[in-house]
Amino acid sequence: MPRTNKQPDNDRIPSSQVSATQAEKAHSSMDRGEQEKKLHDLVQFLLIMDQKKLPIKKLDINKQVLKEHSKALPVMMKLAEEKLRKIFGIELVSLEDKQKGTYILVNTLDTDVDEQLESDPNLTLTPVDWSDENHAKTGLLMVVLSAIFMNGEVMVDSQLYHMLRKLKVDQDVTHPVFGDVKKQLTVEFVRQGYLEYTRQPNTDPPVFEFRWGFRAKKEITKRNCLDFVSQLYEKNPEEWVSQYQVVVEEEGEEEESSAS
């Protein structure tokens, strides 16, 4: 928003465009007790909303938590991010592009304890408990994401269904575990942010494309996928030259951003 000499009435500026210093001013105008209370309400709110696995909108944050202190959002989100990371081991991610103005929570803690369980026969507890249904859905998702990745990061729907049919997962048949497979892929996984489902322009009958969604990009690395597929085919990851290239590029980007 271009700066003019006369700054329009502050109340009319949507909070998403509040500058950093305005946010800081709004934050420091709250007394200490209020700052803390709002921060704690915010963290709780983010944790609860995230359970629905839908991106959390700034609008809702302002409406339900910050209210009259909406201008302080940028400062509060930074503080909330720190709390989530330090106490819960959870990362607050601000989404870009189509989902700009929303947030998701991503678990950065490695909850895999196979090594520890193998080391001692008396240990049988898996810290994070998944239902069988969740396990199965994750398996399906992994297969789909890997297929899309190996295919060059996009896959046409007919191709994907064809592949799944070979694995006895048929979109026209109610699956004993996944139920309505098409709905699981085109609605559920899309809603949760794991897949992107877009229509190819100018196609009739309509042709759709599947790509990785924003949550998949955050939670799963391309390397995970390539390793997964490599194990399946008992090959070395490097044997898939172009996919391996993508993996290396992704890791190069990560190193850059963590170094900066």
């Binding site: 081991g89 304890v113 369980l117 001692d120």
Partner: protein, 268 residues
């Protein structure tokens, strides 16, 4: 006040509680060991020696999550006196923890279930009576009996209720999370245990003065008594029930008498 910082071991422990909701004493000890092993935190081999570090570990977590109205608290089963540890929401707002996992209709159903359990003789109700609750739901989307059955199954899986021999009762997790709610809403219809002063839904009631005791509290109180008597001052009539003399198989973190453990409210 200097707080011990949290490390990944604490975080994994906390995430486990966020995922499971409640763990029994054995599971908690395992979880502690697993977290220590994974994140290279020194952990005594001997189970007895691990108790103090475990308490300290939980205390650290509780210090950090307290501002978010969360606490890891100890609960005792009303059926067998065994201990469990649950992650509870400590703000007054009633059933918020459940709010994200269940629809408004389902929450309404659960509230009605609590109502009939409180009104029942032994804090347990039959499945038919329970399923009929669907007709009593007001101002929410209707539930079919099939929906209700599915709901009951999920409530059991998530450890809010117990279903045994066709009887449905509240599990330890509900008592931990909802004791304040129940005491508030059903003040005149529920009792507290005379010994531990906590909500007592299942227990033994003195036929003379109405004093109520948990089975396990009565067990501990009358452990060495030949002729158990009602503990209430001004009553002291003979206690007419069979005392469950359960041997102490599992080590509980408190190996003290119930009276002393009352005072330690701040501890886990």
């Amino acid at each position: 006040k200097i707080m011990t910082q949290m490390n990944d071991g604490h975080r994994l422990f906390l995430q486990s509680f966020m995922s499971r909701g409640i763990l029994n004493a054995k599971e908690v000890k395992q979880l502690f060991k697993i977290c220590c092993l994974k994140y290279k935190i020194p952990h005594p081999e001997n189970e007895r020696e691990a108790q103090a570090p475990l308490l300290e570990f939980v205390r650290t977590i509780n210090n950090h999550i307290e501002p978010f109205h969360m606490q890891i608290r100890k609960g005792v089963s009303e059926d067998d006196g065994s201990s469990s540890y649950g992650l509870v929401c400590t703000s007054e707002s009633t059933i918020t923890k459940l709010a994200s996992d269940y629809t408004p209709s389902e929450l309404e159903f659960f509230k009605k279930l609590i109502e009939i359990i409180v009104a029942s003789d032994n804090a347990e109700v039959g499945s038919t009576e329970t399923l009929n609750l669907v007709s009593r739901l007001e101002n929410v989307k209707k539930l079919s009996k099939d929906d209700a059955e599915d709901l009951l199954s999920r409530l059991e899986t998530n450890k809010w209720i117990k279903m045994t021999h066709g009887k449905i009762s509240l599990a330890t997790r509900s008592l931990l999370e909802l004791d304040q709610y129940i005491l508030e809403i059903y003040q005149d219809d529920v009792e507290k245990c005379n010994i531990c002063k906590k909500l007592c839904l299942k227990g033994q009631t003195c036929p003379s003065c109405g004093t109520k005791l948990h089975f396990h509290c009565a067990s501990k109180l009358f452990e060495k008594e030949e002729n158990p008597k009602c503990p209430k001052q001004g009553c002291k009539k003979a206690w007419p029930y069979e005392i469950r003399r359960t041997p102490r198989k599992e080590e509980t973190i408190y190996s003290r008498t119930p009276e002393k453990s009352q005072k330690r409210k701040a501890d886990v």
